[in-house]
Protein backbone atom coordinates (compact mmCIF):
# COMPACT_ATOMS: atom_id res chain seq x y z
CA UNK A 1 0.00 0.00 0.00
CA UNK A 2 1.24 3.44 -0.85
CA UNK A 3 1.52 6.66 1.13
CA UNK A 4 -1.55 7.89 -0.70
CA UNK A 5 -3.60 4.88 0.41
CA UNK A 6 -2.36 5.30 3.93
CA UNK A 7 -3.11 9.00 4.11
CA UNK A 8 -6.59 8.67 2.63
CA UNK A 9 -7.63 5.74 4.82
CA UNK A 10 -6.26 7.35 7.97
CA UNK A 11 -7.88 10.67 7.09
CA UNK A 12 -11.30 9.13 6.55
CA UNK A 13 -11.07 7.04 9.72
CA UNK A 14 -10.10 10.16 11.59
CA UNK A 15 -13.21 11.99 10.46
CA UNK A 16 -15.33 9.20 11.94
CA UNK A 17 -13.20 9.23 15.09
CA UNK A 18 -13.65 12.99 15.32
CA UNK A 19 -17.43 12.82 14.99
CA UNK A 20 -17.93 10.19 17.67
CA UNK A 21 -15.12 11.41 19.87
CA UNK A 22 -16.42 14.95 20.08
CA UNK A 23 -19.97 13.72 20.56
CA UNK A 24 -19.15 11.39 23.44
CA UNK A 25 -16.32 13.26 25.13
CA UNK A 26 -13.76 10.68 24.04
CA UNK A 27 -10.49 11.21 22.23
CA UNK A 28 -11.03 9.06 19.18
CA UNK A 29 -7.96 6.98 19.94
CA UNK A 30 -10.14 3.90 20.38
CA UNK A 31 -10.76 3.89 16.66
CA UNK A 32 -7.46 5.27 15.45
CA UNK A 33 -4.98 3.15 17.38
CA UNK A 34 -6.41 -0.18 16.15
CA UNK A 35 -6.51 1.11 12.56
CA UNK A 36 -2.85 2.10 12.80
CA UNK A 37 -1.52 -0.91 14.70
CA UNK A 38 -3.67 -3.77 13.42
CA UNK A 39 -4.24 -2.66 9.85
CA UNK A 40 -1.01 -0.81 9.10
CA UNK A 41 1.35 -2.36 11.66
CA UNK A 42 2.56 1.04 12.80
CA UNK A 43 4.82 0.99 15.86
CA UNK A 44 2.68 1.26 19.02
CA UNK A 45 4.55 4.28 20.35
CA UNK A 46 3.93 6.19 17.12
CA UNK A 47 0.29 5.11 17.29
CA UNK A 48 -0.01 6.47 20.81
CA UNK A 49 1.62 9.73 19.74
CA UNK A 50 -0.94 9.97 16.94
CA UNK A 51 -3.74 9.14 19.37
CA UNK A 52 -2.67 12.02 21.59
CA UNK A 53 -2.89 14.35 18.59
CA UNK A 54 -6.37 13.00 17.94
CA UNK A 55 -7.42 13.79 21.51
CA UNK A 56 -6.17 17.36 21.28
CA UNK A 57 -7.74 17.81 17.85
CA UNK A 58 -11.18 16.67 18.96
CA UNK A 59 -10.94 18.74 22.11
CA UNK A 60 -9.89 21.94 20.36
CA UNK A 61 -12.10 21.36 17.35
CA UNK A 62 -15.33 21.00 19.31
CA UNK A 63 -14.39 23.42 22.08
CA UNK A 64 -15.60 26.62 20.44
CA UNK A 65 -19.09 25.23 19.89
CA UNK A 66 -19.41 23.67 23.34
CA UNK A 67 -18.30 26.84 25.09
CA UNK A 68 -20.83 28.86 23.12
CA UNK A 69 -23.61 26.36 23.85
CA UNK A 70 -22.65 26.53 27.52
CA UNK A 71 -22.36 22.77 27.67
CA UNK A 72 -18.78 22.70 28.91
CA UNK A 73 -18.65 23.29 32.64
CA UNK A 74 -15.31 25.06 32.90
CA UNK A 75 -15.32 25.21 36.68
CA UNK A 76 -15.97 21.53 37.21
CA UNK A 77 -13.53 20.68 34.43
CA UNK A 78 -10.67 22.76 35.81
CA UNK A 79 -11.30 21.56 39.36
CA UNK A 80 -11.24 17.92 38.25
CA UNK A 81 -8.13 18.64 36.17
CA UNK A 82 -6.32 19.14 39.48
CA UNK A 83 -6.81 15.43 39.98
CA UNK A 84 -6.06 14.42 36.41
CA UNK A 85 -2.85 16.37 36.02
CA UNK A 86 -1.48 15.26 39.38
CA UNK A 87 -2.42 11.70 38.49
CA UNK A 88 -0.61 12.05 35.19
CA UNK A 89 2.54 13.27 36.93
CA UNK A 90 2.39 10.34 39.36
CA UNK A 91 1.87 8.03 36.42
CA UNK A 92 5.00 9.29 34.75
CA UNK A 93 6.99 8.16 37.78
CA UNK A 94 5.25 4.83 38.06
CA UNK A 95 5.73 3.59 34.51
CA UNK A 96 8.47 1.20 35.51
CA UNK A 97 6.71 -0.11 38.58
CA UNK A 98 3.35 -1.28 37.26
CA UNK A 99 3.19 -3.71 34.36
CA UNK A 100 1.21 -2.22 31.48
CA UNK A 101 -0.64 -5.42 30.66
CA UNK A 102 -2.16 -5.56 34.11
CA UNK A 103 -3.29 -1.97 33.69
CA UNK A 104 -5.04 -2.70 30.43
CA UNK A 105 -7.00 -5.45 32.14
CA UNK A 106 -7.89 -3.30 35.14
CA UNK A 107 -9.00 -0.51 32.85
CA UNK A 108 -11.03 -2.92 30.75
CA UNK A 109 -12.81 -4.18 33.86
CA UNK A 110 -13.51 -0.64 35.04
CA UNK A 111 -14.93 0.32 31.66
CA UNK A 112 -17.11 -2.78 31.60
CA UNK A 113 -18.38 -1.93 35.05
CA UNK A 114 -19.10 1.66 33.97
CA UNK A 115 -20.92 0.46 30.92
CA UNK A 116 -23.12 -1.83 32.98
CA UNK A 117 -23.81 0.91 35.50
CA UNK A 118 -24.72 3.34 32.75
CA UNK A 119 -27.05 0.75 31.30
CA UNK A 120 -28.81 -0.24 34.51
CA UNK A 121 -29.13 3.30 35.73
CA UNK A 122 -30.37 4.59 32.41
CA UNK A 123 -33.82 5.42 33.64
CA UNK A 124 -32.78 7.46 36.61
CA UNK A 125 -31.94 10.57 34.59
CA UNK A 126 -31.98 12.37 37.88
CA UNK A 127 -29.88 15.45 37.93
CA UNK A 128 -30.04 17.73 40.91
CA UNK A 129 -30.89 21.40 40.96
CA UNK A 130 -29.27 22.23 44.28
CA UNK A 131 -26.51 20.57 46.24
CA UNK A 132 -25.16 20.11 49.74
CA UNK A 133 -21.66 19.52 48.48
CA UNK A 134 -19.47 22.21 50.05
CA UNK A 135 -16.95 22.46 47.24
CA UNK A 136 -19.65 22.61 44.59
CA UNK A 137 -21.35 25.44 46.42
CA UNK A 138 -18.18 27.32 47.22
CA UNK A 139 -16.98 27.23 43.63
CA UNK A 140 -20.38 27.66 41.96
CA UNK A 141 -20.41 24.49 39.94
CA UNK A 142 -24.08 24.83 39.07
CA UNK A 143 -24.85 25.61 35.44
CA UNK A 144 -27.62 26.00 32.87
CA UNK A 145 -27.79 25.12 29.21
CA UNK A 146 -30.41 24.86 26.52
CA UNK A 147 -31.16 21.26 25.58
CA UNK A 148 -32.11 21.05 21.89
CA UNK A 149 -33.87 17.71 22.21
CA UNK A 150 -35.95 18.60 25.24
CA UNK A 151 -36.43 22.13 23.98
CA UNK A 152 -35.91 23.59 27.41
CA UNK A 153 -33.25 25.02 29.67
CA UNK A 154 -31.67 22.49 31.99
CA UNK A 155 -30.34 23.79 35.29
CA UNK A 156 -28.20 21.41 37.28
CA UNK A 157 -25.82 21.23 40.18
CA UNK A 158 -23.05 18.85 41.11
CA UNK A 159 -22.23 16.62 44.07
CA UNK A 160 -19.63 14.13 45.42
CA UNK A 161 -16.83 16.43 44.30
CA UNK A 162 -14.19 14.82 46.50
CA UNK A 163 -14.88 11.33 45.16
CA UNK A 164 -14.92 12.77 41.67
CA UNK A 165 -11.50 14.31 42.26
CA UNK A 166 -10.14 10.98 43.50
CA UNK A 167 -11.38 9.11 40.45
CA UNK A 168 -9.96 11.79 38.18
CA UNK A 169 -6.61 11.21 39.84
CA UNK A 170 -6.92 7.54 38.90
CA UNK A 171 -7.97 8.53 35.38
CA UNK A 172 -4.89 10.75 35.09
CA UNK A 173 -2.69 7.93 36.33
CA UNK A 174 -4.11 5.56 33.74
CA UNK A 175 -3.78 8.21 31.04
CA UNK A 176 -0.10 8.59 31.70
CA UNK A 177 0.58 4.89 32.03
CA UNK A 178 -1.39 3.74 28.98
CA UNK A 179 -1.08 6.82 26.80
CA UNK A 180 -4.81 7.34 26.38
CA UNK A 181 -7.27 10.13 27.00
CA UNK A 182 -9.46 8.19 29.45
CA UNK A 183 -12.53 10.21 28.55
CA UNK A 184 -14.29 6.85 28.79
CA UNK A 185 -13.72 7.00 32.52
CA UNK A 186 -14.31 10.72 32.97
CA UNK A 187 -17.80 10.82 31.49
CA UNK A 188 -19.30 8.09 33.74
CA UNK A 189 -17.69 9.67 36.81
CA UNK A 190 -19.30 13.02 36.07
CA UNK A 191 -22.60 11.56 34.91
CA UNK A 192 -23.18 8.80 37.46
CA UNK A 193 -21.17 9.93 40.46
CA UNK A 194 -21.38 13.70 40.33
CA UNK A 195 -24.85 13.79 38.80
CA UNK A 196 -24.03 16.05 35.89
CA UNK A 197 -26.36 15.61 32.90
CA UNK A 198 -24.83 13.34 30.28
CA UNK A 199 -24.49 16.05 27.63
CA UNK A 200 -22.68 18.38 30.00
CA UNK A 201 -20.47 15.49 31.11
CA UNK A 202 -19.50 14.74 27.52
CA UNK A 203 -18.77 18.36 26.68
CA UNK A 204 -16.76 18.86 29.88
CA UNK A 205 -14.85 15.65 29.25
CA UNK A 206 -14.11 16.92 25.76
CA UNK A 207 -12.47 19.94 27.37
CA UNK A 208 -10.61 17.95 30.01
CA UNK A 209 -9.05 15.36 27.75
CA UNK A 210 -7.45 18.13 25.70
CA UNK A 211 -5.73 19.50 28.77
CA UNK A 212 -4.57 16.07 29.92
CA UNK A 213 -3.29 15.21 26.47
CA UNK A 214 -1.41 18.49 26.08
CA UNK A 215 1.16 17.53 28.72
CA UNK A 216 1.81 14.09 27.21
CA UNK A 217 1.83 15.64 23.75
CA UNK A 218 4.76 17.86 24.62
CA UNK A 219 6.74 14.88 25.86
CA UNK A 220 5.90 12.68 22.88
CA UNK A 221 6.68 15.45 20.41
CA UNK A 222 10.10 16.16 21.86
CA UNK A 223 10.93 12.48 21.85
CA UNK A 224 10.19 12.36 18.15
CA UNK A 225 7.13 10.14 18.51
CA UNK A 226 4.69 12.41 16.69
CA UNK A 227 5.24 11.36 13.09
CA UNK A 228 3.86 14.09 10.79
CA UNK A 229 2.87 11.70 8.01
CA UNK A 230 0.72 9.76 10.49
CA UNK A 231 -0.43 12.59 12.73
CA UNK A 232 -1.03 15.17 10.02
CA UNK A 233 -3.96 13.41 8.33
CA UNK A 234 -5.31 12.49 11.75
CA UNK A 235 -5.25 16.11 12.89
CA UNK A 236 -7.06 17.23 9.73
CA UNK A 237 -9.62 14.43 9.81
CA UNK A 238 -10.43 14.65 13.50
CA UNK A 239 -10.81 18.43 13.38
CA UNK A 240 -13.20 18.07 10.47
CA UNK A 241 -15.17 15.34 12.24
CA UNK A 242 -15.29 17.25 15.51
CA UNK A 243 -17.10 20.09 13.82
CA UNK A 244 -20.13 17.82 13.57
CA UNK A 245 -20.13 16.41 17.08
CA UNK A 246 -21.42 19.54 18.80
CA UNK A 247 -24.18 20.00 16.22
CA UNK A 248 -25.44 16.52 16.96
CA UNK A 249 -24.94 16.72 20.71
CA UNK A 250 -27.25 19.68 21.02
CA UNK A 251 -30.11 17.92 19.27
CA UNK A 252 -29.69 14.29 20.23
CA UNK A 253 -31.75 12.72 22.97
CA UNK A 254 -29.80 11.83 26.07
CA UNK A 255 -31.10 8.28 25.88
CA UNK A 256 -29.61 7.76 22.43
CA UNK A 257 -26.37 9.40 23.52
CA UNK A 258 -26.21 7.09 26.50
CA UNK A 259 -26.79 4.04 24.28
CA UNK A 260 -24.05 5.04 21.83
CA UNK A 261 -21.71 5.70 24.71
CA UNK A 262 -22.33 2.30 26.25
CA UNK A 263 -21.60 0.62 22.91
CA UNK A 264 -18.30 2.50 22.65
CA UNK A 265 -17.39 1.61 26.22
CA UNK A 266 -17.91 -2.04 25.42
CA UNK A 267 -15.81 -1.79 22.26
CA UNK A 268 -12.99 -0.03 24.10
CA UNK A 269 -13.24 -2.52 26.95
CA UNK A 270 -12.88 -5.45 24.56
CA UNK A 271 -9.90 -3.77 22.88
CA UNK A 272 -8.25 -3.30 26.26
CA UNK A 273 -8.84 -6.92 27.20
CA UNK A 274 -7.27 -8.00 23.93
CA UNK A 275 -4.20 -5.83 24.49
CA UNK A 276 -3.77 -6.95 28.06
CA UNK A 277 -4.19 -10.67 27.53
Amino acid sequence: MSNLDFIVIVFLSSIVAGIFGSLLGLGGGALIVPVLTIFFHVNIRLAIGASIISVIATSSGAAAAYVKDKLTNLRVGMFLELGTTLGAVSGAFLTTVIPARLLFIIFAVVLLYSGLLLYFKRNSEGFISTTNDKIARRLNFGESYYDGSKKSVITYHVTRTRSGLFFMYIAGLISALLGIGSGALKVPVMDLLMKMPLKASSATSNFMIGVTAAASAGVYFIRGLVNPIISGPIALGVVLGSLFGPRVLGKIESKLLRAIFIVFLLIISIEMFRTGL
Binding site: N3, D5, F40, E81, A217, V219, P228, A235
Partner: protein
Protein backbone atom coordinates in the same frame (compact mmCIF):
# COMPACT_ATOMS: atom_id res chain seq x y z
CA UNK B 1 -21.36 29.57 31.40
CA UNK B 2 -19.40 31.95 33.50
CA UNK B 3 -22.00 34.61 32.71
CA UNK B 4 -25.13 34.77 34.82
CA UNK B 5 -24.06 33.90 38.32
CA UNK B 6 -26.28 36.00 40.51
CA UNK B 7 -24.60 35.14 43.76
CA UNK B 8 -21.05 36.18 42.90
CA UNK B 9 -19.76 39.60 43.68
CA UNK B 10 -21.16 42.14 41.31
CA UNK B 11 -18.01 44.03 40.47
CA UNK B 12 -16.51 42.04 37.60
CA UNK B 13 -14.57 44.32 35.33
CA UNK B 14 -15.55 42.87 31.99
CA UNK B 15 -18.74 41.12 30.93
CA UNK B 16 -17.78 37.41 31.19
CA UNK B 17 -19.94 36.40 28.26
CA UNK B 18 -17.78 38.62 26.08
CA UNK B 19 -14.61 36.95 27.32
CA UNK B 20 -15.97 33.50 26.58
CA UNK B 21 -16.87 34.57 23.08
CA UNK B 22 -13.30 35.71 22.62
CA UNK B 23 -11.95 32.35 23.80
CA UNK B 24 -14.38 30.60 21.50
CA UNK B 25 -13.24 32.77 18.60
CA UNK B 26 -9.53 32.29 19.35
CA UNK B 27 -9.94 28.51 19.52
CA UNK B 28 -11.71 28.51 16.18
CA UNK B 29 -8.96 30.62 14.63
CA UNK B 30 -6.26 28.41 16.15
CA UNK B 31 -7.82 25.26 14.76
CA UNK B 32 -8.23 26.80 11.30
CA UNK B 33 -4.65 28.10 11.35
CA UNK B 34 -3.35 24.71 12.41
CA UNK B 35 -5.31 22.92 9.69
CA UNK B 36 -4.20 25.32 6.94
CA UNK B 37 -0.58 24.92 8.04
CA UNK B 38 -0.77 21.13 8.07
CA UNK B 39 -2.43 21.12 4.68
CA UNK B 40 0.19 23.51 3.30
CA UNK B 41 2.87 21.21 4.62
CA UNK B 42 1.44 18.30 2.66
CA UNK B 43 1.20 20.43 -0.48
CA UNK B 44 4.83 21.53 -0.10
CA UNK B 45 5.84 17.93 0.46
CA UNK B 46 4.14 16.87 -2.74
CA UNK B 47 5.56 19.81 -4.61
CA UNK B 48 9.15 18.93 -3.70
CA UNK B 49 8.88 15.19 -4.01
CA UNK B 50 6.06 15.06 -6.56
CA UNK B 51 4.33 11.78 -7.24
CA UNK B 52 7.15 9.62 -5.94
CA UNK B 53 6.06 10.27 -2.40
CA UNK B 54 2.44 9.36 -3.03
CA UNK B 55 3.18 6.08 -4.73
CA UNK B 56 6.00 4.77 -2.60
CA UNK B 57 5.16 2.30 0.12
CA UNK B 58 3.81 3.77 3.33
CA UNK B 59 6.14 1.60 5.38
CA UNK B 60 9.02 4.03 4.92
CA UNK B 61 7.44 7.22 6.15
CA UNK B 62 5.52 5.53 8.98
CA UNK B 63 8.47 3.55 10.25
CA UNK B 64 9.94 4.31 13.66
CA UNK B 65 13.20 5.13 11.88
CA UNK B 66 11.73 7.83 9.65
CA UNK B 67 13.55 11.02 10.46
CA UNK B 68 11.90 14.36 11.05
CA UNK B 69 12.77 17.39 13.19
CA UNK B 70 11.39 17.17 16.70
CA UNK B 71 12.69 20.10 18.64
CA UNK B 72 10.94 23.47 18.53
CA UNK B 73 13.99 25.20 17.07
CA UNK B 74 14.66 22.64 14.35
CA UNK B 75 10.99 22.61 13.34
CA UNK B 76 10.94 26.40 13.03
CA UNK B 77 14.19 26.43 11.12
CA UNK B 78 13.14 23.79 8.61
CA UNK B 79 9.64 25.21 8.28
CA UNK B 80 11.10 28.58 7.33
CA UNK B 81 13.01 26.71 4.64
CA UNK B 82 9.60 25.53 3.45
CA UNK B 83 10.34 21.85 4.00
CA UNK B 84 6.97 20.14 3.84
CA UNK B 85 7.45 17.76 6.77
CA UNK B 86 8.49 20.58 9.09
CA UNK B 87 5.54 22.73 8.05
CA UNK B 88 3.17 19.87 8.87
CA UNK B 89 4.81 19.67 12.28
CA UNK B 90 4.47 23.40 12.74
CA UNK B 91 0.74 22.99 12.17
CA UNK B 92 0.66 20.20 14.76
CA UNK B 93 2.53 22.40 17.23
CA UNK B 94 -0.07 25.12 16.82
CA UNK B 95 -2.74 22.52 17.58
CA UNK B 96 -0.85 21.32 20.66
CA UNK B 97 -0.54 24.88 21.94
CA UNK B 98 -4.30 25.47 21.99
CA UNK B 99 -5.26 23.56 25.17
CA UNK B 100 -2.25 25.08 26.93
CA UNK B 101 -3.31 28.58 25.93
CA UNK B 102 -6.83 27.80 27.01
CA UNK B 103 -5.69 26.77 30.46
CA UNK B 104 -3.27 29.69 30.61
CA UNK B 105 -5.97 32.28 30.00
CA UNK B 106 -8.29 30.87 32.67
CA UNK B 107 -6.53 32.35 35.73
CA UNK B 108 -6.83 35.79 34.16
CA UNK B 109 -10.50 35.18 33.40
CA UNK B 110 -11.23 34.20 36.99
CA UNK B 111 -9.18 37.03 38.43
CA UNK B 112 -11.20 39.51 36.41
CA UNK B 113 -14.30 38.07 38.02
CA UNK B 114 -12.63 38.13 41.44
CA UNK B 115 -12.99 34.36 41.81
CA UNK B 116 -9.67 33.89 43.53
CA UNK B 117 -10.07 30.23 44.43
CA UNK B 118 -10.79 29.23 40.82
CA UNK B 119 -7.90 31.45 39.69
CA UNK B 120 -5.64 29.56 42.08
CA UNK B 121 -6.90 26.18 40.92
CA UNK B 122 -6.40 27.01 37.25
CA UNK B 123 -2.93 28.41 37.98
CA UNK B 124 -1.94 25.14 39.63
CA UNK B 125 -3.19 23.11 36.67
CA UNK B 126 -1.32 25.39 34.27
CA UNK B 127 1.81 25.08 36.40
CA UNK B 128 1.71 21.28 36.37
CA UNK B 129 1.11 21.31 32.62
CA UNK B 130 4.02 23.60 31.82
CA UNK B 131 6.22 21.95 34.43
CA UNK B 132 5.82 18.50 32.92
CA UNK B 133 6.69 19.78 29.45
CA UNK B 134 9.77 21.61 30.70
CA UNK B 135 10.95 18.58 32.64
CA UNK B 136 10.48 16.44 29.56
CA UNK B 137 12.43 18.91 27.45
CA UNK B 138 15.29 18.99 29.94
CA UNK B 139 15.53 15.26 30.48
CA UNK B 140 15.46 14.31 26.83
CA UNK B 141 18.57 15.92 25.37
Amino acid sequence: MLSDKTNTKSNSLIDPGYIENIISYLLRIGVILSSITVLSGFILLLFHRSDDFLSETYKISTSIHFKFPHSFSSVLKEASQLKGVAVIELGLLILLALPILRVGISPILFLLRKEYLMALITTIVFGVLIGSIIIAAITTH
